[in-house]
Amino acid sequence: MAASNKITRKLAMTAVAWLVALVIAFPALWLILTSFKSETEAISRVPHLFFTPTLTNYAAVQQQASYLHFAANSVIVSVGSTLFALLFAIPSAYTMAFAPTKSTRSTLLWMLSTKMMPPVGALVPVYLIFRDLSLLDTRTGLLLVDALANLPILIWMLYTFFKEVPREVLEAGRMDGAGPLRELWNLLLPLSLPGIVSTSLLAIILAWNEAFWSLTLTAAKAAPLTAFIASFSSPEGLFYAKLSAASTMAIAPILILGWLSQKQLVRGLTFGAVK
Protein backbone atom coordinates (compact mmCIF):
# COMPACT_ATOMS: atom_id res chain seq x y z
CA MET A 1 0.00 0.00 0.00
CA ALA A 2 2.72 2.38 1.04
CA ALA A 3 4.78 1.42 -2.01
CA SER A 4 1.93 2.12 -4.44
CA ASN A 5 1.33 5.48 -2.69
CA LYS A 6 4.96 6.29 -3.17
CA ILE A 7 4.80 5.41 -6.89
CA THR A 8 1.62 7.50 -7.39
CA ARG A 9 3.25 10.46 -5.67
CA LYS A 10 6.36 10.08 -7.78
CA LEU A 11 4.30 9.91 -10.99
CA ALA A 12 2.33 13.00 -9.98
CA MET A 13 5.52 14.89 -9.17
CA THR A 14 7.02 13.88 -12.53
CA ALA A 15 3.90 15.00 -14.37
CA VAL A 16 3.95 18.37 -12.60
CA ALA A 17 7.67 18.80 -13.36
CA TRP A 18 7.08 18.05 -17.04
CA LEU A 19 4.15 20.45 -17.15
CA VAL A 20 6.18 23.26 -15.58
CA ALA A 21 9.10 22.54 -17.91
CA LEU A 22 6.77 22.62 -20.89
CA VAL A 23 5.25 25.95 -19.82
CA ILE A 24 8.72 27.44 -19.40
CA ALA A 25 10.05 26.05 -22.67
CA PHE A 26 6.86 26.63 -24.67
CA PRO A 27 7.76 30.05 -26.17
CA ALA A 28 11.10 28.75 -27.41
CA LEU A 29 9.56 25.53 -28.75
CA TRP A 30 6.77 27.45 -30.49
CA LEU A 31 9.37 29.85 -31.92
CA ILE A 32 11.36 26.98 -33.41
CA LEU A 33 8.19 25.31 -34.78
CA THR A 34 7.02 28.59 -36.34
CA SER A 35 10.40 29.08 -38.02
CA PHE A 36 9.67 25.96 -40.12
CA LYS A 37 6.14 27.05 -41.15
CA SER A 38 5.04 29.16 -44.09
CA GLU A 39 4.05 32.75 -43.31
CA THR A 40 0.37 31.83 -43.81
CA GLU A 41 0.59 28.95 -41.35
CA ALA A 42 2.49 31.18 -38.94
CA ILE A 43 -0.21 33.83 -38.71
CA SER A 44 -3.13 31.37 -38.87
CA ARG A 45 -5.68 31.95 -36.09
CA VAL A 46 -5.91 28.21 -35.53
CA PRO A 47 -2.44 27.09 -34.50
CA HIS A 48 -1.00 24.45 -36.81
CA LEU A 49 0.66 21.67 -34.89
CA PHE A 50 1.08 19.45 -37.92
CA PHE A 51 2.50 21.03 -41.05
CA THR A 52 5.03 20.43 -43.81
CA PRO A 53 8.29 21.91 -42.56
CA THR A 54 10.08 24.31 -44.86
CA LEU A 55 13.50 25.92 -44.81
CA THR A 56 12.46 28.85 -46.98
CA ASN A 57 12.39 31.25 -44.00
CA TYR A 58 15.99 30.45 -43.18
CA ALA A 59 17.03 30.98 -46.79
CA ALA A 60 15.14 34.28 -46.88
CA VAL A 61 16.72 35.47 -43.64
CA GLN A 62 20.17 34.57 -44.91
CA GLN A 63 19.51 36.49 -48.13
CA GLN A 64 18.18 39.54 -46.37
CA ALA A 65 20.98 39.98 -43.83
CA SER A 66 24.39 38.50 -43.25
CA TYR A 67 23.84 36.23 -40.28
CA LEU A 68 27.53 35.50 -39.91
CA HIS A 69 28.40 39.17 -39.53
CA PHE A 70 25.96 39.56 -36.64
CA ALA A 71 26.98 36.22 -35.16
CA ALA A 72 30.64 37.21 -35.25
CA ASN A 73 29.80 40.44 -33.43
CA SER A 74 27.87 38.49 -30.81
CA VAL A 75 30.73 36.09 -30.23
CA ILE A 76 33.36 38.85 -30.05
CA VAL A 77 31.28 41.06 -27.76
CA SER A 78 30.05 38.33 -25.39
CA VAL A 79 33.37 36.49 -25.06
CA GLY A 80 35.40 39.72 -25.11
CA SER A 81 33.23 41.44 -22.51
CA THR A 82 33.46 38.37 -20.28
CA LEU A 83 37.25 38.21 -20.51
CA PHE A 84 37.54 41.94 -19.93
CA ALA A 85 35.19 41.81 -16.94
CA LEU A 86 37.13 38.84 -15.49
CA LEU A 87 40.29 40.95 -15.55
CA PHE A 88 38.69 43.22 -12.95
CA ALA A 89 36.35 40.77 -11.27
CA ILE A 90 39.04 38.24 -10.28
CA PRO A 91 41.31 40.67 -8.38
CA SER A 92 38.27 42.42 -6.84
CA ALA A 93 36.71 39.18 -5.64
CA TYR A 94 40.12 37.96 -4.40
CA THR A 95 40.63 41.09 -2.30
CA MET A 96 37.10 40.99 -0.94
CA ALA A 97 37.31 37.29 -0.10
CA PHE A 98 40.75 37.26 1.51
CA ALA A 99 41.30 40.80 2.77
CA PRO A 100 37.81 41.91 3.70
CA THR A 101 37.18 45.24 5.41
CA LYS A 102 34.17 46.40 7.39
CA SER A 103 32.57 47.71 4.21
CA THR A 104 33.12 44.62 2.02
CA ARG A 105 29.66 43.22 2.59
CA SER A 106 27.92 46.54 1.96
CA THR A 107 30.07 47.16 -1.15
CA LEU A 108 28.99 43.79 -2.54
CA LEU A 109 25.35 44.55 -1.84
CA TRP A 110 25.69 48.01 -3.38
CA MET A 111 27.26 46.55 -6.50
CA LEU A 112 24.48 44.03 -6.85
CA SER A 113 21.86 46.73 -6.27
CA THR A 114 23.10 48.55 -9.39
CA LYS A 115 21.70 45.63 -11.35
CA MET A 116 18.26 46.56 -10.05
CA MET A 117 18.39 49.95 -11.78
CA PRO A 118 16.76 49.93 -15.23
CA PRO A 119 19.49 50.47 -17.85
CA VAL A 120 17.45 53.20 -19.47
CA GLY A 121 18.21 55.32 -16.41
CA ALA A 122 21.82 55.53 -17.55
CA LEU A 123 21.08 55.77 -21.25
CA VAL A 124 21.58 59.49 -21.81
CA PRO A 125 24.98 59.85 -20.07
CA VAL A 126 26.27 56.59 -21.57
CA TYR A 127 25.10 57.63 -25.03
CA LEU A 128 26.73 61.06 -24.76
CA ILE A 129 30.00 59.60 -23.47
CA PHE A 130 30.00 57.04 -26.28
CA ARG A 131 29.31 59.74 -28.83
CA ASP A 132 32.15 61.93 -27.54
CA LEU A 133 34.58 58.99 -27.42
CA SER A 134 33.48 57.77 -30.88
CA LEU A 135 32.39 54.44 -29.41
CA LEU A 136 28.93 54.39 -30.97
CA ASP A 137 28.40 51.39 -33.23
CA THR A 138 31.74 49.85 -32.28
CA ARG A 139 32.34 46.39 -30.86
CA THR A 140 34.71 47.92 -28.29
CA GLY A 141 31.94 50.18 -27.04
CA LEU A 142 29.39 47.40 -26.69
CA LEU A 143 32.00 45.11 -25.17
CA LEU A 144 32.76 47.77 -22.51
CA VAL A 145 29.11 48.31 -21.64
CA ASP A 146 28.39 44.59 -21.40
CA ALA A 147 31.49 44.05 -19.28
CA LEU A 148 30.51 46.83 -16.88
CA ALA A 149 26.90 45.68 -16.74
CA ASN A 150 27.93 42.11 -15.83
CA LEU A 151 30.78 43.05 -13.50
CA PRO A 152 28.69 43.08 -10.27
CA ILE A 153 27.35 39.57 -10.94
CA LEU A 154 30.80 38.29 -11.84
CA ILE A 155 32.39 39.75 -8.71
CA TRP A 156 29.61 38.39 -6.53
CA MET A 157 29.81 34.89 -7.97
CA LEU A 158 33.61 34.74 -7.91
CA TYR A 159 33.62 36.09 -4.35
CA THR A 160 31.36 33.17 -3.34
CA PHE A 161 33.66 30.67 -5.07
CA PHE A 162 36.85 32.16 -3.65
CA LYS A 163 35.41 32.08 -0.14
CA GLU A 164 35.25 28.31 -0.46
CA VAL A 165 39.00 28.02 -1.09
CA PRO A 166 40.68 27.19 2.23
CA ARG A 167 42.55 30.24 3.46
CA GLU A 168 45.32 28.01 4.80
CA VAL A 169 46.19 26.79 1.30
CA LEU A 170 46.91 30.35 0.23
CA GLU A 171 48.82 30.96 3.46
CA ALA A 172 50.88 27.85 2.75
CA GLY A 173 51.66 29.42 -0.62
CA ARG A 174 52.72 32.61 1.11
CA MET A 175 55.02 30.63 3.39
CA ASP A 176 56.43 28.92 0.29
CA GLY A 177 57.29 32.29 -1.21
CA ALA A 178 54.32 33.06 -3.45
CA GLY A 179 53.55 36.74 -3.86
CA PRO A 180 49.98 37.94 -4.54
CA LEU A 181 50.23 37.30 -8.30
CA ARG A 182 51.70 33.80 -7.88
CA GLU A 183 49.11 33.07 -5.21
CA LEU A 184 46.38 34.09 -7.63
CA TRP A 185 47.81 32.36 -10.69
CA ASN A 186 49.26 29.16 -9.21
CA LEU A 187 46.82 28.51 -6.40
CA LEU A 188 43.55 30.42 -6.39
CA LEU A 189 42.73 30.20 -10.11
CA PRO A 190 43.39 26.45 -10.52
CA LEU A 191 41.49 25.74 -7.29
CA SER A 192 38.44 27.76 -8.32
CA LEU A 193 38.53 26.91 -12.02
CA PRO A 194 35.07 25.24 -12.01
CA GLY A 195 33.63 28.38 -10.45
CA ILE A 196 35.40 30.65 -12.92
CA VAL A 197 34.14 28.56 -15.82
CA SER A 198 30.51 28.62 -14.70
CA THR A 199 30.74 32.35 -13.93
CA SER A 200 32.17 32.96 -17.40
CA LEU A 201 29.44 30.88 -19.03
CA LEU A 202 26.76 32.89 -17.29
CA ALA A 203 28.44 36.17 -18.29
CA ILE A 204 28.64 35.04 -21.92
CA ILE A 205 24.95 34.10 -21.91
CA LEU A 206 23.97 37.43 -20.32
CA ALA A 207 26.05 39.40 -22.82
CA TRP A 208 24.76 37.32 -25.74
CA ASN A 209 21.14 37.96 -24.74
CA GLU A 210 21.63 41.63 -23.91
CA ALA A 211 19.37 43.69 -26.16
CA PHE A 212 18.89 47.16 -24.70
CA TRP A 213 22.43 48.47 -25.16
CA SER A 214 22.90 46.54 -28.41
CA LEU A 215 19.88 48.24 -29.95
CA THR A 216 20.65 51.71 -28.68
CA LEU A 217 24.43 51.86 -29.10
CA THR A 218 24.94 49.93 -32.35
CA ALA A 219 23.59 50.32 -35.85
CA ALA A 220 25.18 48.21 -38.58
CA LYS A 221 28.90 47.59 -38.00
CA ALA A 222 28.85 46.34 -34.43
CA ALA A 223 25.29 45.04 -34.23
CA PRO A 224 25.05 41.61 -32.57
CA LEU A 225 22.37 38.96 -33.06
CA THR A 226 19.84 40.70 -30.80
CA ALA A 227 19.88 43.59 -33.29
CA PHE A 228 19.68 41.03 -36.09
CA ILE A 229 16.36 39.74 -34.68
CA ALA A 230 15.06 43.25 -34.21
CA SER A 231 15.83 44.07 -37.83
CA PHE A 232 13.16 41.55 -38.90
CA SER A 233 10.38 43.23 -36.95
CA SER A 234 10.43 46.30 -39.19
CA PRO A 235 9.91 48.08 -41.57
CA GLU A 236 7.84 45.88 -43.89
CA GLY A 237 5.57 44.76 -41.09
CA LEU A 238 5.78 41.56 -39.08
CA PHE A 239 6.71 38.39 -40.87
CA TYR A 240 6.33 35.88 -38.06
CA ALA A 241 7.91 32.91 -39.77
CA LYS A 242 10.99 34.85 -40.89
CA LEU A 243 11.24 36.56 -37.51
CA SER A 244 11.07 33.15 -35.85
CA ALA A 245 13.76 31.80 -38.16
CA ALA A 246 15.99 34.80 -37.37
CA SER A 247 15.36 34.37 -33.64
CA THR A 248 16.07 30.66 -33.80
CA MET A 249 19.34 31.34 -35.57
CA ALA A 250 20.20 33.95 -32.93
CA ILE A 251 19.49 31.78 -29.92
CA ALA A 252 20.72 28.49 -31.35
CA PRO A 253 24.44 28.94 -30.51
CA ILE A 254 23.79 30.00 -26.92
CA LEU A 255 21.19 27.26 -26.43
CA ILE A 256 23.70 24.68 -27.59
CA LEU A 257 26.38 26.18 -25.32
CA GLY A 258 23.93 26.17 -22.41
CA TRP A 259 22.92 22.57 -23.14
CA LEU A 260 26.51 21.37 -23.29
CA SER A 261 27.50 23.18 -20.10
CA GLN A 262 24.32 22.68 -18.08
CA LYS A 263 26.01 20.71 -15.33
CA GLN A 264 28.61 23.42 -14.88
CA LEU A 265 25.96 26.16 -14.94
CA VAL A 266 23.70 24.51 -12.40
CA ARG A 267 26.65 23.97 -10.10
CA GLY A 268 27.64 27.62 -10.49
CA LEU A 269 24.19 29.01 -9.87
CA THR A 270 23.41 26.85 -6.86
CA PHE A 271 26.87 27.06 -5.32
CA GLY A 272 26.76 27.66 -1.59
CA ALA A 273 23.01 27.05 -1.50
CA VAL A 274 23.42 23.45 -0.40
CA LYS A 275 26.38 21.81 1.27
Binding site: P166, E171, M175, G177
Partner: protein
Protein backbone atom coordinates in the same frame (compact mmCIF):
# COMPACT_ATOMS: atom_id res chain seq x y z
CA UNK B 1 69.25 26.32 12.80
CA UNK B 2 68.31 29.30 14.87
CA UNK B 3 67.18 30.99 18.04
CA UNK B 4 63.92 32.89 18.21
CA UNK B 5 63.41 35.82 20.58
CA UNK B 6 60.12 37.50 21.36
CA UNK B 7 60.26 40.85 23.13
CA UNK B 8 57.04 42.34 24.45
CA UNK B 9 55.02 41.02 21.52
CA UNK B 10 51.45 42.31 21.42
CA UNK B 11 48.55 41.67 19.08
CA UNK B 12 44.95 42.89 19.14
CA UNK B 13 41.96 42.37 16.92
CA UNK B 14 39.85 45.48 17.35
CA UNK B 15 39.53 46.13 21.08
CA UNK B 16 40.34 42.55 21.94
CA UNK B 17 43.95 42.00 22.96
CA UNK B 18 44.93 38.44 22.05
CA UNK B 19 48.65 38.53 22.82
CA UNK B 20 49.51 40.64 25.86
CA UNK B 21 53.19 41.41 25.89
CA UNK B 22 55.04 38.13 25.52
CA UNK B 23 58.76 37.77 26.26
CA UNK B 24 60.33 34.47 25.29
CA UNK B 25 63.60 33.04 24.08
CA UNK B 26 63.44 29.79 22.14
CA UNK B 27 66.73 27.97 22.00
CA UNK B 28 68.55 26.55 19.03
CA UNK B 29 67.70 22.90 18.22
CA UNK B 30 65.05 22.73 20.91
CA UNK B 31 61.51 21.52 20.40
CA UNK B 32 59.40 24.10 22.21
CA UNK B 33 55.71 23.39 22.68
CA UNK B 34 53.16 26.19 23.10
CA UNK B 35 50.30 24.69 25.05
CA UNK B 36 47.12 26.15 26.41
CA UNK B 37 43.35 25.97 26.18
CA UNK B 38 41.39 27.08 23.10
CA UNK B 39 41.55 30.82 22.61
CA UNK B 40 44.68 31.33 24.72
CA UNK B 41 46.53 32.86 21.76
CA UNK B 42 48.96 30.03 21.03
CA UNK B 43 48.08 29.73 17.33
CA UNK B 44 48.07 33.52 16.96
CA UNK B 45 51.53 33.64 18.50
CA UNK B 46 52.74 31.04 16.00
CA UNK B 47 51.20 32.99 13.11
CA UNK B 48 52.91 36.15 14.34
CA UNK B 49 56.24 34.32 14.30
CA UNK B 50 55.45 32.91 10.83
CA UNK B 51 54.58 36.37 9.55
CA UNK B 52 51.02 35.49 8.57
CA UNK B 53 49.79 38.12 11.04
CA UNK B 54 51.33 41.53 11.68
CA UNK B 55 52.80 42.23 15.10
CA UNK B 56 51.22 45.32 16.71
CA UNK B 57 54.18 46.10 18.94
CA UNK B 58 57.32 44.43 20.24
CA UNK B 59 60.22 42.80 18.45
CA UNK B 60 60.60 39.39 16.90
CA UNK B 61 64.19 38.31 16.38
CA UNK B 62 65.40 35.27 14.50
CA UNK B 63 69.12 34.73 14.96
CA UNK B 64 69.28 38.24 16.46
CA UNK B 65 67.80 39.78 13.29
CA UNK B 66 64.57 41.74 13.69
CA UNK B 67 62.07 40.20 11.27
CA UNK B 68 58.83 42.05 12.12
CA UNK B 69 58.66 43.59 8.65
CA UNK B 70 60.09 40.68 6.66
CA UNK B 71 57.72 38.65 4.46
CA UNK B 72 56.83 35.12 5.71
CA UNK B 73 58.80 33.28 3.03
CA UNK B 74 61.94 35.31 3.71
CA UNK B 75 62.05 34.62 7.44
CA UNK B 76 63.46 31.17 6.77
CA UNK B 77 60.61 29.38 8.51
CA UNK B 78 58.36 26.54 7.46
CA UNK B 79 54.86 26.04 8.83
CA UNK B 80 52.93 22.78 9.00
CA UNK B 81 49.23 23.59 9.22
CA UNK B 82 46.57 21.80 11.24
CA UNK B 83 44.57 21.11 8.07
CA UNK B 84 47.79 20.15 6.19
CA UNK B 85 46.92 22.88 3.61
CA UNK B 86 48.29 20.82 0.74
CA UNK B 87 47.75 22.16 -2.77
CA UNK B 88 44.89 19.90 -3.96
CA UNK B 89 45.66 20.31 -7.67
CA UNK B 90 49.32 19.29 -7.33
CA UNK B 91 50.70 15.82 -6.70
CA UNK B 92 52.94 15.01 -3.74
CA UNK B 93 56.18 15.82 -5.56
CA UNK B 94 54.78 19.11 -6.87
CA UNK B 95 53.49 20.01 -3.43
CA UNK B 96 56.93 19.51 -1.96
CA UNK B 97 58.84 21.26 -4.72
CA UNK B 98 56.56 24.31 -5.09
CA UNK B 99 58.62 26.52 -2.77
CA UNK B 100 61.85 25.56 -4.54
CA UNK B 101 60.25 26.25 -7.92
CA UNK B 102 59.30 29.72 -6.74
CA UNK B 103 62.82 30.23 -5.46
CA UNK B 104 64.18 29.42 -8.93
CA UNK B 105 66.00 26.24 -7.92
CA UNK B 106 66.85 23.98 -10.89
CA UNK B 107 64.69 20.91 -11.55
CA UNK B 108 67.42 18.30 -10.87
CA UNK B 109 68.16 19.92 -7.51
CA UNK B 110 64.45 20.12 -6.70
CA UNK B 111 63.94 16.47 -7.58
CA UNK B 112 66.90 15.43 -5.45
CA UNK B 113 65.58 17.31 -2.41
CA UNK B 114 62.07 15.95 -2.87
CA UNK B 115 63.44 12.40 -3.08
CA UNK B 116 65.53 12.91 0.04
CA UNK B 117 62.53 14.22 2.01
CA UNK B 118 60.35 11.44 0.61
CA UNK B 119 62.90 8.90 1.78
CA UNK B 120 62.98 10.34 5.33
CA UNK B 121 59.18 10.34 5.49
CA UNK B 122 58.58 7.06 3.61
CA UNK B 123 56.73 8.77 0.79
CA UNK B 124 58.77 7.43 -2.15
CA UNK B 125 55.86 5.44 -3.60
CA UNK B 126 53.35 8.24 -3.30
CA UNK B 127 55.09 11.04 -5.19
CA UNK B 128 52.66 10.93 -8.13
CA UNK B 129 49.52 10.89 -6.04
CA UNK B 130 47.20 13.84 -5.46
CA UNK B 131 46.37 14.77 -1.83
CA UNK B 132 42.81 13.42 -2.18
CA UNK B 133 44.26 9.96 -2.77
CA UNK B 134 46.24 9.97 0.48
CA UNK B 135 45.26 9.00 4.02
CA UNK B 136 45.35 11.52 6.85
CA UNK B 137 48.74 10.33 8.07
CA UNK B 138 50.23 10.41 4.57
CA UNK B 139 48.93 13.95 4.02
CA UNK B 140 50.50 14.99 7.27
CA UNK B 141 53.81 13.52 6.12
CA UNK B 142 53.60 15.41 2.84
CA UNK B 143 52.99 18.63 4.77
CA UNK B 144 56.08 17.89 6.84
CA UNK B 145 58.00 17.01 3.67
CA UNK B 146 57.04 20.35 2.20
CA UNK B 147 58.62 21.95 5.25
CA UNK B 148 61.75 19.77 5.22
CA UNK B 149 62.74 20.52 1.61
CA UNK B 150 62.95 24.21 2.42
CA UNK B 151 65.65 23.47 4.96
CA UNK B 152 64.20 26.12 7.27
CA UNK B 153 65.86 27.74 10.25
CA UNK B 154 62.80 26.96 12.35
CA UNK B 155 59.95 24.48 11.87
CA UNK B 156 56.55 25.68 13.02
CA UNK B 157 53.75 23.18 13.70
CA UNK B 158 50.18 24.35 14.29
CA UNK B 159 48.32 21.48 15.98
CA UNK B 160 49.47 19.11 13.24
CA UNK B 161 48.06 15.94 14.78
CA UNK B 162 44.63 17.08 15.85
CA UNK B 163 42.91 15.83 12.68
CA UNK B 164 44.27 12.30 13.08
CA UNK B 165 42.68 9.42 14.95
CA UNK B 166 44.05 8.46 18.36
CA UNK B 167 46.26 5.56 17.20
CA UNK B 168 47.77 7.49 14.31
CA UNK B 169 48.33 10.49 16.56
CA UNK B 170 50.50 8.41 18.89
CA UNK B 171 52.50 7.04 15.94
CA UNK B 172 52.97 10.45 14.32
CA UNK B 173 53.99 11.88 17.71
CA UNK B 174 56.81 9.37 17.84
CA UNK B 175 57.76 10.04 14.22
CA UNK B 176 57.90 13.78 14.81
CA UNK B 177 60.06 13.37 17.89
CA UNK B 178 62.39 11.08 15.93
CA UNK B 179 62.47 13.57 13.07
CA UNK B 180 63.37 16.35 15.46
CA UNK B 181 66.30 14.35 16.75
CA UNK B 182 67.38 13.40 13.23
CA UNK B 183 67.23 16.93 11.85
CA UNK B 184 68.50 18.60 15.03
CA UNK B 185 66.16 21.44 14.12
CA UNK B 186 64.64 24.27 16.10
CA UNK B 187 60.93 23.52 16.27
CA UNK B 188 57.93 25.32 17.68
CA UNK B 189 54.92 23.13 18.18
CA UNK B 190 51.45 24.35 19.10
CA UNK B 191 48.94 22.05 20.74
CA UNK B 192 46.06 22.12 23.19
CA UNK B 193 46.86 18.54 24.15
CA UNK B 194 49.00 18.48 27.26
CA UNK B 195 49.92 14.83 26.64
CA UNK B 196 51.51 15.82 23.30
CA UNK B 197 53.25 18.68 25.07
CA UNK B 198 54.61 16.46 27.84
CA UNK B 199 55.78 13.68 25.55
CA UNK B 200 57.37 15.73 22.79
CA UNK B 201 58.71 18.93 24.27
CA UNK B 202 62.19 19.87 25.32
CA UNK B 203 60.53 22.91 26.84
CA UNK B 204 56.89 23.80 27.30
CA UNK B 205 55.44 27.31 27.23
CA UNK B 206 52.05 27.33 28.95
CA UNK B 207 49.85 30.12 27.64
CA UNK B 208 46.63 31.48 29.05
CA UNK B 209 44.61 34.47 27.88
CA UNK B 210 47.48 35.83 25.80
CA UNK B 211 50.08 35.60 28.55
CA UNK B 212 52.84 33.14 29.37
CA UNK B 213 51.97 31.36 32.60
CA UNK B 214 55.16 29.31 32.86
CA UNK B 215 58.10 28.09 30.80
CA UNK B 216 60.01 24.95 31.68
CA UNK B 217 60.82 21.37 30.89
CA UNK B 218 57.87 18.96 31.07
CA UNK B 219 58.97 17.60 34.43
CA UNK B 220 59.59 21.08 35.87
CA UNK B 221 56.02 22.02 35.02
CA UNK B 222 54.74 18.75 36.43
CA UNK B 223 56.70 18.96 39.64
CA UNK B 224 56.65 22.66 40.35
CA UNK B 225 53.75 24.39 38.63
CA UNK B 226 53.92 28.11 39.26
CA UNK B 227 50.20 28.61 39.72
CA UNK B 228 46.80 26.96 39.79
CA UNK B 229 46.36 27.29 36.02
CA UNK B 230 49.55 25.41 35.16
CA UNK B 231 48.93 22.89 37.92
CA UNK B 232 45.47 22.17 36.54
CA UNK B 233 46.53 22.12 32.91
CA UNK B 234 49.56 19.87 33.10
CA UNK B 235 48.89 16.29 34.13
CA UNK B 236 46.15 13.86 33.25
CA UNK B 237 43.77 13.31 34.97
CA UNK B 238 44.06 16.86 36.20
CA UNK B 239 45.26 17.80 39.68
CA UNK B 240 42.71 17.81 42.50
CA UNK B 241 42.27 21.17 44.21
CA UNK B 242 41.03 21.27 47.77
CA UNK B 243 40.59 24.04 50.33
CA UNK B 244 43.77 24.34 52.42
CA UNK B 245 41.63 24.19 55.56
CA UNK B 246 41.20 20.49 54.91
CA UNK B 247 44.92 20.05 55.50
CA UNK B 248 44.97 22.57 58.36
CA UNK B 249 47.51 24.68 56.47
CA UNK B 250 47.22 28.30 57.62
CA UNK B 251 49.63 29.68 54.99
CA UNK B 252 47.89 28.33 51.92
CA UNK B 253 44.49 29.03 50.39
CA UNK B 254 44.27 25.98 48.13
CA UNK B 255 46.16 22.73 48.01
CA UNK B 256 46.63 20.57 44.93
CA UNK B 257 47.24 16.85 44.85
CA UNK B 258 47.70 14.86 41.67
CA UNK B 259 45.48 11.76 41.32
CA UNK B 260 48.58 9.52 41.21
CA UNK B 261 49.77 10.85 44.57
CA UNK B 262 46.72 9.75 46.52
CA UNK B 263 46.55 6.38 48.16
CA UNK B 264 43.81 4.30 49.76
CA UNK B 265 44.43 3.07 53.30
CA UNK B 266 42.58 1.91 56.41
CA UNK B 267 42.75 5.39 57.87
CA UNK B 268 42.71 8.82 56.32
CA UNK B 269 40.32 11.30 54.76
CA UNK B 270 36.99 9.53 54.24
CA UNK B 271 35.40 9.64 50.79
CA UNK B 272 32.67 7.84 48.88
CA UNK B 273 33.44 6.18 45.55
CA UNK B 274 31.16 7.43 42.79
CA UNK B 275 32.60 5.96 39.61
CA UNK B 276 35.43 3.61 38.70
CA UNK B 277 37.05 3.83 35.26
CA UNK B 278 39.13 0.78 34.32
CA UNK B 279 41.90 1.46 31.83
CA UNK B 280 43.55 -1.93 32.20
CA UNK B 281 46.97 -0.94 33.50
CA UNK B 282 45.40 1.60 35.85
CA UNK B 283 42.07 2.71 37.25
CA UNK B 284 40.62 6.18 37.80
CA UNK B 285 38.48 6.44 40.88
CA UNK B 286 36.09 9.38 41.04
CA UNK B 287 35.04 9.97 44.61
CA UNK B 288 33.51 12.61 46.85
CA UNK B 289 34.90 13.76 50.17
CA UNK B 290 32.59 13.95 53.15
CA UNK B 291 32.87 17.72 52.88
CA UNK B 292 31.46 17.55 49.34
CA UNK B 293 34.56 18.16 47.20
CA UNK B 294 35.05 15.84 44.24
CA UNK B 295 38.39 14.05 44.07
CA UNK B 296 40.03 11.75 41.53
CA UNK B 297 42.54 8.98 42.28
CA UNK B 298 44.72 7.08 39.92
CA UNK B 299 45.50 3.57 41.11
CA UNK B 300 47.76 1.03 39.46
CA UNK B 301 46.23 -2.08 37.99
CA UNK B 302 42.66 -3.19 38.18
CA UNK B 303 40.86 -1.68 41.16
CA UNK B 304 38.40 -3.68 43.22
CA UNK B 305 36.66 -0.57 44.52
CA UNK B 306 32.97 -0.20 43.72
CA UNK B 307 30.58 2.76 43.62
CA UNK B 308 29.11 3.90 46.98
CA UNK B 309 31.96 2.24 48.84
CA UNK B 310 33.55 4.34 51.59
CA UNK B 311 37.31 4.62 51.38
CA UNK B 312 40.04 6.47 53.29
CA UNK B 313 42.52 8.58 51.38
CA UNK B 314 46.14 9.27 52.20
CA UNK B 315 48.41 11.88 50.64
CA UNK B 316 52.17 11.93 50.31
CA UNK B 317 53.03 15.30 51.89
CA UNK B 318 55.99 15.72 49.53
CA UNK B 319 53.58 15.88 46.64
CA UNK B 320 51.09 18.36 48.02
CA UNK B 321 51.17 21.63 46.07
CA UNK B 322 50.18 24.77 47.95
CA UNK B 323 48.73 27.95 46.46
CA UNK B 324 47.94 31.36 47.96
CA UNK B 325 44.62 33.16 47.59
CA UNK B 326 45.72 34.58 44.19
CA UNK B 327 46.43 31.11 42.90
CA UNK B 328 50.22 31.42 42.92
CA UNK B 329 52.31 28.55 44.18
CA UNK B 330 53.81 28.94 47.63
CA UNK B 331 57.49 28.06 47.69
CA UNK B 332 58.18 24.54 48.95
CA UNK B 333 60.20 25.98 51.83
CA UNK B 334 56.90 26.89 53.52
CA UNK B 335 55.49 23.45 52.99
CA UNK B 336 54.55 21.97 56.37
CA UNK B 337 55.49 18.41 57.12
CA UNK B 338 52.01 17.02 56.86
CA UNK B 339 51.17 13.75 58.40
CA UNK B 340 48.36 11.53 57.39
CA UNK B 341 46.96 11.75 60.88
CA UNK B 342 46.46 15.46 60.33
CA UNK B 343 44.13 14.85 57.41
Amino acid sequence: MATVELKQIRKSYGDHEIIRGIDLTLNDQELTVFVGPSGCGKSTLLRLIAGLEDIDSGDLLIDSLRVNDIAPARRGLALVFQSYALYPHMNVAENMSFSMKLAGISKPERDAKVLEAARILHLEDLLDRKPKDLSGGQRQRVAIGRAIVRNPKVFLFDEPLSNLDAALRVRMRLELTTLHRKLAATMIYVTHDQVEAMTMADRIVVLNAGRVEQVGTPMELYRTPRNLFVAGFIGSPKMNFLPATLLADPHAHTVGIRPEHIGVADEGLPATVQLVEHLGSESYIHAQLVTGEPITLRLNGESTLTPDQTIHLTFDPQHVHRFDHEGNAIEPVHKPQLKNSQL
